[in-house]
């Protein structure tokens, strides 16, 4: 089988193996590591993870598809996930989402044609006291308003971020 995952993946996993009493417990860490390498989780990659863990590939898929952070489809270079849950909603996240859709020219859930942005709606991020908030890849951007969101997107577009 053609290897889709790097040596680094296997090195990281080898280091984690002794930290769990069962190899299956490595499924989530493996999916995270693979996604970090590939940006998303193609079927072949999940199959390779299944082979490494020693489980049927369907088992990897059922786990991966349960969690919203595993991308089963490719996403843009910058994945903006705007929280629209209660605290953010009270603080104007609807307006932010509307603005982001217009600014990026895509609907929530879509990726821009240049592959630079994916826009998603996110459930509560745990940044309620600094609402509204969003995740931009792994980073939190908090206390947002239309202006600061505009600046953030502009900076990415201009290659500053």
């Amino acid at each position: 089988m053609a290897k889709n995952l790097s040596e680094k993946f296997y090195t990281v996993m080898k280091k984690l193996e002794p930290r769990y009493p069962s190899k299956k417990a490595l499924i989530l860490p493996a999916l995270h590591q693979a996604q970090e390498e590939c940006g998303w989780l193609p079927a072949e990659v999940m199959e390779e993870i299944g082979e490494y863990i020693g489980v049927h590939p369907a088992q990897i898929r059922e786990v991966a598809s349960f969690y919203t952070m595993y991308n089963l489809k490719p996403v843009g270079k910058n994945h903006l996930r705007i929280c629209t849950n209660v605290a953010c909603c009270l603080r104007g996240s609807d307006e932010l989402m509307g603005f982001a859709e217009k600014k990026l020219g895509i609907k929530c859930g879509e990726t821009t044609a240049d592959g630079l942005f994916t826009l998603s709606e996110e459930e509560c991020l745990g940044a309620c006291t600094t609402a509204p908030a969003m995740m931009a890849n792994d980073d939190y951007v908090e206390s947002l308003d239309v202006n600061s969101l505009n600046d953030y997107i502009e900076k990415i577009k201009q290659g500053v971020k």
Binding site: V55, A58, Q59, E62, S65, F66
Partner: protein
Amino acid sequence: MPKCMIDGKEVEFTAGENLVKVAKRAGVEIPVFCYHPGLSVVAQCRMCYVEVEKMPKLQTACSTMATEGMVVKTNSENVKKGRAGTMEFLLLNHPLDCPICDKAGECDLQDNSYGYGSAYMRGSEERRTYVDVNMGPVIQKNMNRCIHCTRCIRFGDEIAGIHEMVAIKRGNDIDITTIDGKTLQTEYAGNYSDICPTGSLTLKDFRFKKRAWMLKKTTTVCEGCSKGCNMEIQHEGDVIYRCVPLENLDVNRYWMCDEGRFNYQHTQDPTRIIEPKVKAEGGWKTISWEDGILGIKEEIDGQKPTFLVGSDLTQEELTHIKEYIALQHPGATIQHFGTPGLTSTQQDGALDQILRMKSKTSNLNGAEKLGIAPLMNDTIKADTVVVMSAGRAKLPKINAKRVIAVGVYLEGDASQFDMILPGLAFSEKDGTIVNHQGIEQKLKRAVLPRGKCKSLSEVLMLLTNKKARVGANP
């Protein structure tokens, strides 16, 4: 023994028994979907609510173990409302396609809806729909009908030992399926259909052939291997439509393999030889029973032909053959055959972790117990050979001047024979077989013999009779 109260009836139980089982013994049926006695308990469907004294919330009977002095109500207003609520939830997205669903008439969803649901539908939402994948030759998938009981997932994982059915995504979006359009790999796929409480997983082989309520059911034993799985032949008239496993905790628990399930098909194969035939120039010639019997008598009377008997025959048949030989052909050789390369029960063993055994015939143990010696090679050389078998035993290569066959054969098996007298298949006769554990089990006649087939006993009787008189055929 500890006791508890179910709907006012005192019932004894053994520690670790859940309320579904205990209630059943008290004659109280608790409706279930996800619970299956052969699978792990997940308490997901929320149908088996009961009220337990001193517990504020409704409890699920499947996951509640009986305890000493426990007082359980299965029919209170609270329980009824809970169950009706579950039924309503389950039917929200279930298509009302019972008229064209194969499961109708034997559907848990239908039965429980009738028993515990409401006559009215309050939901007016559009139903959830799916595009189904091809699951292979055994199972037809209809995800729209699925109620997410996960029995199939657990069967794959816990019994079949292959995690191929999975739940993809979560919540309302769950799809229970194989991935990437893969077909089912397990050799036990038929069970998916048995345990599915709706028409979500049905047997392709059975689809649209017969309404469940028109089928007659005959309890018998599978002849597919030395396991002896208990099963039911379901038939109408003299046509078998399907076989389904029956519970026997000492033998097959609740399951059977696909090979055994579909084994019945050979008995209805259009190429099965169902009339006496003799080899003639350019093929086979159909003859009368009288000519057949006389023909054989001519060949073997007063001789010592070699008798090869399949270990797929019943104890009664084998005993009868032995007696026949002792009387009519004293000193003649008799050997049993069945599975190439496997000559004794000592060599028999599990073919997988589930049910299937190495011996592909059902009565190897019985043949051995009757003191019949095995055929040691896959080839036999003799002057005249008489083969008697029921269609499962794999024929050896026969090197003889004359080969006479009595039993169940397809045209493809017959090339080595010179004459064939058609016999009864396992579904057409009563009898006893002894499984690999030594358990004696009964075959039961479900359908009448096909064509002009006759029982082995009748054939032996005719061969013994000096003036072979063959009456009218059945």
